[in-house]
C-alpha cells in the first residue's frame, strides 16, 4: 500500500463556483442533507485557511509516513497505518463523541494542546446530531 492512497481521502469539498453544485447521489441538489442551494453561497470566498485546516491532519500524516518510509523502509508506515486503522475503529455510537484516545496516543497528540482542544470542543457543543439519521448514515441505509 502506498501513501498515495491517502489522497483519496482528502476533502476538497469547499464549493467551487459552478463545478460541483452540492450534488447528492442522484446528481441534483441534496436539500435534505446540504440545505437549499444558493449561488451567493458559492460565489463568495470562504476563508483562505478553510481548506488547509480541513486537510491538515491528513497532510501531516502523509508527510510523516513519507519521511518514515524514506528512513526506515516500507514496513514502518505499513505497520503504523495498520495500527491507525485499528485505533480508528474504536468508536462509540455515531452520534456520541468519542475520545479517540488510542488514535491520539499513536499520533503523539495526547500530550499536546492545540486549538482543536480549546475551541469548539465537540464534547461541549450545544447541538447533537440526530441519532437516527447518523446511525442510518453509518449503516448505509440512508
Amino acid at each position: 500500500m502506498n501513501t498515495r492512497g491517502l489522497r483519496s481521502q482528502l476533502k476538497d469539498s469547499v464549493p467551487v463556483t459552478g463545478l460541483c453544485p452540492q450534488a447528492g447521489p442522484y446528481g441534483v441538489q441534496d436539500s435534505l442533507r446540504r440545505g437549499f442551494s444558493s449561488v451567493k453561497n458559492e460565489l463568495l470566498p470562504s476563508h483562505p485557511l478553510e481548506l488547509s485546516e480541513k486537510n491538515f491532519q491528513l497532510n501531516q500524516d502523509k508527510m510523516n509516513f513519507n519521511t518514515l518510509r524514506n528512513i526506515q523502509g516500507l514496513h514502518a508506515p505499513l505497520k503504523l497505518q495498520m495500527e491507525y486503522r485499528a485505533a480508528r475503529q474504536i468508536q462509540r455510537l455515531p452520534f456520541l463523541p468519542s475520545s479517540n484516545l488510542a488514535l491520539d496516543t499513536l499520533r503523539g497528540s495526547d500530550d499536546t494542546i492545540g486549538f482543536e482542544d480549546i475551541l469548539n470542543d465537540p464534547i461541549q457543543s450545544e447541538m447533537m446530531g440526530d441519532p437516527h439519521i447518523m446511525t442510518e448514515y453509518k449503516l448505509g441505509i440512508l
Binding site: L32, R33, G35, P45, L49, I113, G114, F115, L119
Partner: protein, 276 residues
C-alpha cells in the same frame, strides 16, 4: 438551513461565519461604516542578553484603533519557570498563543523529564504560526535561560524567527532599536542592562502613539527571575491646577413658574405577602 449533519463534529476553528461576515462588511462599506477591528496592543517590546542572562521589557498600553483600551496591561507572559515571552500584535492572539505554549511546554517537559529549552518554545510557536499563515496576528519575543545558556528569539506572525543578542518588536520597535543600536555592548552588568532596556522602552513610549503608560521589566538569570511590574512610570497623569466647578448663582434666574399637581386617592387595596 436544515442542519442534519452526518459527520462527527471536530474541534478547532470554525469557518461557518466567514461568508456572513464578508456580506456584512460589504453592506457596511456601502453605507460608509467600517467593520470593527480586533484590539491590538500597539506595543513596544524589547529583549536583551546581558552577562548573567536575559532582560525582557514591555510597555503597558493596549489600543483599540485610536482609543487606549487598557492603560496597564501585562505584555510579558509566563511560559516556563525560566522562560518568558513578550507579545505584540493582536492582544487576544498573543494572550491565547502564549497560554497554549505554556501548557504545551509543561506537558512536554513532563514527558521528557527535563527542563524546557527556549529553542523548543520557539519551534512550537513558529510551526503553529506558519500553519495559520499569519492570520494569528501575534509577534512575540521569547527569552529565557536553559542548559544552553541565555537565549533570545523573536517570532513574527507568519512564522519566521530570529536569534539575536538584542531585539525589539511592535509599533514602537524603531524607536527602541535605535537606543539599543547606540548603546548596546556585549556582557553588560545587571543595572546597566536594566537601565538600557528601560531607556529603549521609554523611547518607544514617547515616540510612538501606540505605546504608553509604564515600563515592565523581567530579569531572568540562571538563579532567579525578577518580574518588575511597573518598574518605571515615565508618564504620570497631570494634577489639576484649579477647580472647574461653578459657584451656585452663576446662572441668573430670569423667570419662574410653579404648576402644582393635585393627586386624589382613587383606590386603596392591601395584598398580604406569603412570608413563610
Amino acid at each position: 438551513m436544515l442542519n442534519t449533519s452526518t459527520k462527527t463534529p471536530t474541534g478547532g476553528f470554525s469557518f461557518e461565519n466567514t461568508r456572513r461576515n464578508a456580506v456584512l462588511e460589504a453592506n457596511l462599506l456601502e453605507k460608509g461604516y467600517s467593520a470593527p477591528n480586533a484590539r491590538k496592543t500597539g506595543t513596544t517590546i524589547a529583549g536583551l542578553i546581558f552577562k548573567d542572562g536575559v532582560i525582557l521589557g514591555a510597555d503597558t498600553r493596549a489600543t483599540d484603533d485610536m482609543v487606549v483600551a487598557d492603560k496597564n496591561c501585562m505584555k510579558i507572559h509566563y511560559i516556563a519557570p525560566k522562560i518568558y515571552c513578550c507579545g505584540a500584535g493582536v492582544a487576544a492572539d498573543a494572550e491565547v498563543t502564549t497560554q497554549m505554549m505554556s501548557s504545551n511546554v509543561e506537558l512536554h517537559s513532563l514527558s521528557t523529564g527535563r527542563p524546557p529549552l527556549v529553542a523548543m518554545v520557539t519551534r512550537q510557536l513558529k510551526q503553529m504560526l506558519f500553519r495559520y499563515q499569519g492570520h494569528i496576528g501575534s509577534s512575540l519575543i521569547v527569552g529565557g535561560v536553559d542548559v544552553n545558556g541565555a537565549q533570545l528569539y523573536s517570532v513574527y506572525p507568519h512564522g519566521s524567527y530570529d536569534k539575536l543578542p538584542f531585539l525589539t518588536m511592535g509599533s514602537g520597535a524603531a524607536s527602541a532599536i535605535s537606543v539599543f543600536e547606540d548603546r548596546y555592548k556585549p556582557n553588560m552588568e545587571v543595572e546597566e542592562a536594566k537601565q538600557l532596556v528601560r531607556d529603549a522602552i521609554t523611547a518607544g513610549i514617547f515616540c510612538d502613539l501606540g505605546s504608553g503608560s509604564n515600563v515592565d521589566l523581567c530579569v531572568i538569570t540562571e538563579k532567579t527571575v525578577d518580574y518588575l511590574r511597573g518598574y518605571d512610570q515615565p508618564v504620570q497623569k497631570g494634577l489639576r491646577e484649579g477647580t472647574y466647578r461653578y459657584k451656585p448663582g452663576t446662572t441668573a434666574v430670569l423667570t419662574k413658574t410653579v404648576t402644582p399637581l393635585t393627586l386624589d386617592v382613587v383606590d386603596e387595596s392591601v395584598q398580604v405577602m406569603d412570608t413563610e
